[in-house]
Symmetry: C2
Subunit: 276 residues, 2 copies
């Protein structure tokens, strides 16, 4: 509770508060409970954030399921597991979705909403609206897939980076710089398809102009491989130039400070754009 | 020349000028030539920017090769082609590298320097130093590979996005948002490996904790396929919500305005960090 209070004050001081209530008013509306039935029985939304272990999550949800009303929306913050695997045995499973935020959610607005085959439109709409109301940027996946959208794109980047480093084309520092001094600056404002749409004056044009080059570029693409072992050790040694493991908390603060500034900048640019 | 003058003034007015000379002083040092020998014979660096066509680039380089002195560094701005393919028949091939900037280079500092097997260290060092001096962020590839580093990571993102959309998991708008409202905000400051290093308090730890999950996530990864045809048409229609082809120039200005602000923000944060 102390940490929540601290974060509410901090966000507000930095012009990144949300909603119309003061931090103190917001804080006063938060309470804790030690019994699950007390916690969930009158909720409009239950958001579960226990560790990413399938059996644990399933167990917690069967327990919640016994205590909620029929109108309550039920959301797991799982970062990878399909909602059908979490909710198949639940009585209220039509109220169930995954809502996956990206850390730190104060600065990164994306929330992936993933529906199971039995999730009702009403539930999706309610959760979508709520996420929009609190200033997040929800996207709804139309089909379940392990790892969802953002982490799959992240993994595709990671896999390519892994090969480039293992093959001796570039070292960790070079790959990291290629992202944050290059591509990544675009990706803060536009996605991977629009980047090419803008580059060539049309996505189809890009595809038709470069398909031959592109296909030969893809040839050296290989089957994904299990990453780890010695190569991961070497990469971690190189990552120490950014932060040793003991320095990770400090480096996270460094990153979060930048994300906060980027978040403010994007808001300012949006306001300016709406004004014109 | 008018466009160059305009851009120099514009960058300077926006606090994004480089070097110690005024825009007018910089502009007065630029001249044009209509004969190749006049253009290159006394250069310290020749940077070639003709269209991305192998035979054309080879022909231009054989021509340049006849007119340059032994000390001149020779750089192609090719965005994909290995330097050995461009320079194999040149007399001064030990002076040859690819220096690939990312558009727009005023705001995106990355320059990929790619050496052929015969490129001298002296040439790499000279071009690296020059790129640093003009405020770019050079990375040196230790081995030739088609498409270099940034575009390979870009293509890995694109391929994954392509599949997610074709499989009906998400539409174009969702994938784009997953990047620019999510992952991409991180990628403006940190690369794909450090992102996981920070997430889990160590890259190795991430790899060992998630390798099983990660491997099952990779299972649905498939062979790259030739992108284009009907699916590309459908995606272009969806991309029109961002910009129709006729609106691409305006949308590029929209993007460049944001990149300029991000570029300024990153400079300010670096200056603040150095001051502490």
């Amino acid at each position: 509770m102390e940490d929540i209070n601290h974060q509410l004050q901090h966000l507000s001081e930095n012009g990144l508060g949300k909603g119309s209530l003061t931090p103190d008013q917001q804080y006063s509306r938060i309470s804790t409970a030690e019994r699950l039935d007390v916690c969930v029985s009158e909720a409009i939304l239950v958001m579960e954030c226990v560790p990413e272990v399938l059996d644990l999550k399933r167990e917690v949800w069967l327990d919640i399921d016994r205590h909620v009303q029929g109108e309550t929306s039920l959301a797991s913050s799982s970062s990878a597991i399909q909602p059908s695997l979490l909710s198949s045995d639940m009585e209220h499973r039509e109220n169930f979705v995954v809502t996956h935020p990206i850390n730190p959610p104060f600065y990164i607005p994306l929330v992936e909403i993933v529906r199971a085959p039995w999730t009702s439109d009403k539930t999706v709409d309610m959760v979508y609206k709520l996420m929009e109301d609190i200033g997040q940027a929800p996207v709804v996946l139309q089909k379940e897939i392990f790892n969802f959208v953002a982490a799959r794109i992240q993994n595709a980047c990671l896999q390519e980076a892994w090969w480039l480093i293992k093959d001796g084309v570039a070292d960790v520092d070079d790959v990291e710089r290629a992202m944050y001094e290059g591509l990544g600056m675009d990706y803060a404002f536009i996605g991977p398809l629009e980047r090419l749409h803008l580059l060539s004056g049309g996505f189809e044009r890009y595809m038709s102009q470069t398909s031959e080059l592109y296909c030969s570029a893809q040839e050296p693409f290989r089957e994904p491989e299990r990453m780890g072992g010695h190569a991961a050790e070497v990469m971690e040694r190189e990552l120490e130039s950014f932060a040793r493991v003991s320095e990770v908390p400090d480096r996270r603060r460094w990153r979060d400070e930048r994300l906060a500034e980027l978040s403010k900048l994007k808001r300012q640019l949006d306001v300016k754009e709406e004004g014109t």
